[in-house]
């Protein structure tokens, strides 16, 4: 029984989320292999060995130079055929969701998404999936193979073990419709500082910051804590902060060790993107804000007073 983990990579580096899924798959057991799809990606494939995987299937073709999903469905189909894999795991991302769903249709293979954990029961993959705004946890399974899962981003930490991987090239025949879409331009819009997927600490700002300028409070506190700045849907829509920092249902799901919410009410759309954080701190002037229902430490008060003081005290404490 082989489990494939799709190792999404950008700029020559495998995504942390994919390495987290790989770590969990290795811990769960069975034969685990990585899949790297790209153009000139031998080094990327090799680098996966350091995360404990001994087999990596590689589909290398100029068609994969840009991050378009449909040709990657063809690639995964070829790797599944070559490996006889029963399980195919993806760390959720904009790109991987489209690949996983396309693959599900291509192979009539079941897809469970939003998975927060998985295990092998009598050798068969099972998973947990929170639903209805995480008010219920659903145990989900598959009724045929291959079984495909999209794992919620940030669900697992990458574990560096050292080691080397044997690389197995797989050739692919691309479908005509898969290569019909064409990348015209790619525009990087990364916020300064660490990206929110990789950060152990996130300071997130909402409407309660009052204005785009108010984000300076979040930035100052994030800098003191050594963390990244995130934003709610409302302030991204209002143009206060870039979309790449948006946390929530229509943005990213994150699970840092510490999540500090400044002026965020905690609407369900935001909650689903951050409630898996290790520790949640909320500062809000509204004592009835829903975020206090799920914050570990809540302060009711004025952000303009509290946030700068907090940053100062953190700086003093951290030296």
């Amino acid at each position: 029984m082989t489990t494939l983990v799709f190792l999404e990579h950008h700029g020559g580096a495998i995504q942390k989320g994919a390495l987290g899924v790989l770590a969990r798959a290795l811990a769960v057991g069975g034969d685990v292999a990585g899949v790297v799809v790209g153009n000139g990606v031998a080094d990327v494939a090799q680098s996966a060995g350091a995360y404990g995987v001994s087999t990596v299937y590689v589909v290398d073709d100029p068609a994969f130079e840009v991050p378009l999903p449909q040709p990657r469905v063809d690639a995964l189909e070829a790797v599944i055929a070559a490996s006889g894999a029963e399980n195919v795991l993806f760390a959720a991302s904009v790109l991987s969701a489209d690949i996983a769903a396309g693959l599900s249709a291509r192979l009539d293979a079941g897809l469970n998404w939003d998975v927060t954990d998985f295990s092998l029961e009598n050798g068969e993959l099972q998973a947990k999936r929170p639903a209805l705004g995480d008010t219920v946890v659903v145990d989900v399974g598959w009724t045929s193979t291959p079984r495909i899962a999209l794992v919620r981003s940030g669900a697992f930490e990458a574990v560096e073990t050292g080691g080397t991987a044997a690389v197995h090239p797989v050739s692919v025949t691309l479908q005509g419709f898969s290569t019909a879409a064409r990348m015209v331009d790619q525009i990087q819009e990364q916020a300064s500082g660490p990206s929110i997927e990789d950060a152990d600490v996130i300071v997130a700002g909402g409407r309660g910051l009052g204005s785009p300028d108010g984000f300076k409070l979040a930035e100052e506190l994030a800098e003191a804590l050594g963390g990244a700045v995130a934003a709610t849907r409302a302030v991204v829509d209002a143009g206060w902060y870039p979309y790449s920092t948006q946390v929530g249902q229509t943005g990213k799901s994150v699970s840092p060790k510490l999540y500090v919410a400044l002026g965020i009410s905690g609407a369900i759309q935001h909650k689903v993107g951050m409630q898996n954080s290790g520790t949640i701190v909320a500062i809000n002037k509204d004592p009835n804000a829903p975020i206090f229902d799920f914050a570990d430490f809540g302060i009711v008060g004025d952000l303009n007073q509290i946030a700068p003081k907090l940053a100062e005290l953190v700086r003093a404490r951290r030296g």
């Binding site: 929170p130 705004g133 990348m183 790619q186």
Partner: protein, 258 residues
């Protein structure tokens, strides 16, 4: 240009949502509403029609009462509605739903198939890619800006890293982001007019879908059980009297979070 917008009726945002403990299916007996992000897809279709002419068809798979939600799209300005409604389709997963929906869409021979960003009941944001693969058409998802010329479509796709600008020949499948537009409200005239717009309800057989391709038999995933979410530990909530920042820093330091 003919545009099909795939939409879904979901439980109303104000309704209490529950999964039936016996059937493991979402209880859809309460008030239903047109899925919020599907409204952005309807709006985008209407704007394209206003700019380029053509026809906007809203298509859905769901219970008979889903026609109420389709009527909202008609009130906004869509030309006609197609509902595929069949008891056999209940409990369909992605494999089954994408198969049936692709059959319904195929029948319309559209130039453009539009989807909204995410269904609020299943949190699914995957259906478009499965349907695009079944239709064997190019796909652009998470589209925050869309433009069409005679033979191709160009979309600005939001990613974790910024934007990708992607072009695809028609016919194509597009999933729009909810940042793409601010949907219009149906006018009174639109609401009145919706009642006389064509609404077609078909069974699965009517779109050429075999009964064993949908529902439980056509699905490839299963629900094994339900459990309450893990509970939170002790929570602290204080009102700031000038010392809250200090208390928080002590609390974080104790937990080695600094």
């Amino acid at each position: 240009m003919k545009i099909v917008v795939c939409v879904k009726q979901v439980p109303d945002a104000n309704a209490v949502r529950r999964i039936d403990a016996t059937t493991h299916r979402l209880d859809r007996s309460g008030e239903g509403a047109l899925n919020a992000t599907d409204v952005n897809a309807v709006e985008e279709a209407l704007r394209l029609k206003e700019a380029h002419g053509g026809e906007v068809v809203v298509a859905s798979l769901g219970p008979a009462k889903a026609v109420d939600s389709l009527r909202k799209a008609l009130a906004m300005g869509a030309d006609r509605a197609l509902l595929v409604s069949d008891d056999a389709a209940a409990g369909s997963d992605l494999v089954a739903t994408s198969y049936a929906l692709a059959k319904a869409v195929e029948r319309e021979q559209a130039d453009l198939v539009l989807f909204g960003q995410q269904s609020s009941d299943s949190d699914g944001a995957v259906l478009w890619a499965a349907v695009a693969d079944r239709l064997r058409r190019p796909l652009i998802s998470q589209v925050a800006e869309l433009s069409v010329d005679g033979t191709s479509v160009q979309g600005k796709r939001q990613t974790e890293f910024g934007y990708d600008v992607i072009s695809a020949p028609l016919p194509a499948v597009i999933a729009v982001s909810d940042a793409i537009n601010e949907p219009r409200y149906p006018s009174l005239k639109g609401i009145m007019g919706a009642k006389s717009k064509p609404t077609e309800t078909l069974t699965l057989a009517g779109i050429g879908v075999e009964a064993d391709r949908v529902g439980t038999s056509g699905s490839r995933t299963s629900v094994l059980g339900l459990a309450p979410p893990p509970s939170k530990g002790d929570q602290v909530k204080i009102e700031d009297d000038g010392s809250a920042a200090g208390s928080l820093v002590d609390w974080l330091a104790e937990r080695k979070l600094l």
